[in-house]
């Protein structure tokens, strides 16, 4: 169960990972994640919470830190009507599921919801409303389950060696 945090269209990589904090450690960068849209977000978000965006989530630069900041804060998944391509790749590779969800805009900020990653279904706790997303294919789910592409491959290679 996680809290839903809604943001609008075109959330860019500078909002997710502000350029001025890029030189510092990821924890410091994460503390400023999305502060341009919601100053309370980084301090209040809890592990398991779900970020919901509109169109073109993660647009802008190719910096991996945009997805890494959300991951560092414990965000369980990002749901959006569409994603910028490089953010989409980076998110899965860093272990953050990014689910395309046509009905993302119907979700209300602050609601509690349960996400079934395998089925791509979000159930809003209070109302019981079920919102369908495009489920990530098993291969990407396995990367997410391992914590990202590198830990995923680590298991694969070490498993193969054992």
């Amino acid at each position: 169960m996680g809290r839903i945090w809604t943001f609008g269209d075109n959330v860019d990589t500078d909002l997710l990972a502000p350029g001025v904090y890029m030189k510092g450690p990821i924890e410091e960068l994460a503390a400023h994640c999305l502060e341009g849209l919601n100053p309370d977000f980084a301090a209040s978000v809890r592990p398991g919470d779900i970020v919901v965006g509109g169109k073109n989530f993660g647009m802008g630069s190719s910096r991996e830190q945009a997805a890494q900041a959300l991951k560092t804060l414990g965000v369980a998944a990002v749901l959006a009507r569409s994603f910028a391509g490089i953010f989409y790749r980076n998110a899965f590779n860093l272990g953050l599921p990014a689910l395309v969800c046509d009905d993302a805009s119907t979700l209300e900020d602050g609601a509690l919801a349960d996400l079934d990653l395998a089925l791509g279904r979000l159930t809003v706790a209070e109302t019981g409303v079920v919102v369908a997303c495009d489920a990530a294919p098993p291969h990407l789910q396995a990367i997410v389950a391992a914590g990202g592409l590198i830990p995923y491959l680590e298991v694969k290679f070490k498993g193969a060696a054992a």
């Binding site: 790749r89 860093l94 291969h139 590198i150």
Partner: protein
Amino acid sequence: MSVFSTESAQPQTLAQKIVARAAGVDHVAPGEIVTCKINLAMIHDSGGPRRVKPLLERLGVGVWDPDKVVVVSDHYVPAVDQESAGILKLTRDWVRGQAIKSFYDQQGICHVVLPERGHLAPGHFVVGGDSHSPTGGAFGCFMFGVGATDMAGALATGETWLRMPETILINWTGALGDGVSAKDIMLRLCRELGMDGGDYQVVQYAGDTIAALSMTERMTLCNMAAELGGITGLIAPDEVTATHIDKAGGDPGDWAKWRGDDDAPLRARFDFDAGSLGPQVAAPHSPANAGDIADADRDAIDQCYIGACTGAKLDDLQMAARVLRGRTVASTTRLMIAPASTRITAQAAADGTLATLTEAGAILLPSGCGACAGYGAGVLAEGERCMASTARNFKGRMGAKSSFVYLGSPYTVAATAVHGRIADPRPLLAESA
């Protein structure tokens, strides 16, 4: 699965065909996620070894196939301080340790060196550790840029995953006027479509204007698909492509079969007329700030720069030489030229292009990324104004945060150097004719 695959009968774009081949299937629908086998991976000194080495060490593996990895040192060359020297040393040591044979050390910019040495072929699926990797699409490859984590995974396994993009077809018809080039086409497209117009889809160029362009001009189009926000640029291979690859010592293979079906589904199609296109200039701080040269300001320009993967190939140097022949660079500005590769430098020396440029007063810089992203010689001071043949003019990219970069074709940069302010190259070309 039935042997009578109905899916293979569906019309497909060129990109779908390449990705399907790499994924080992008949058909990949847009939006479908597939795992593809990589024909080639390209990395450079900045985003390459120093970033992927620790990740590969964590995995306890080396590159999957040293013969399918090309490494180019181009960003920090030649070393200007201890830091850049250290990065280059790390690159060289790592390449040796991995037994990678295709290592081009200080030979030029990766996107130019890769096809110059015959590494690209139609139908190939290629990943590059740089955002201008779409350049490879000019050779009928599906080549796109990835970050360090992605690249480490690709190098470790020889595979990568892809969410199949759709294709945006950009059709140009008619002949380009004298003094107008591929760079002008791209700046116009940046203005028309915006920097997110490509929406991480495949940007494919077609039409008789494109067919009439040289390979290096086609490379400029695909290179700047990155500025449109496309995952890659693509041009269906033709005889021009095949001949070029052949001459570079590569193998064009079965090039004629790599074309999209006529009725393949597209995301969008745009049509443009080349005949009515004049020189374009992008004002600071975005390539999308482009417009007709007549609308550009006429304030003094401090530096003119012909360089970068987009703007310093042999064709580009020859364009500049046509404008500069018998003329001199204005005393109020400086013209710096960094040929995109050492081989281009040799060719330009052999055909007299270099002599024309240096006689006009141009200063030659080493082949590499150099001033394009503020890595090497030629950076800008506070408030300075530069006209460049590069691909990007983001704030502070070529030096001081308060500097200004204008983008234009090599013709336009050369004309600007002659006048010391932004100038249309066409009157100078007409005068020389």
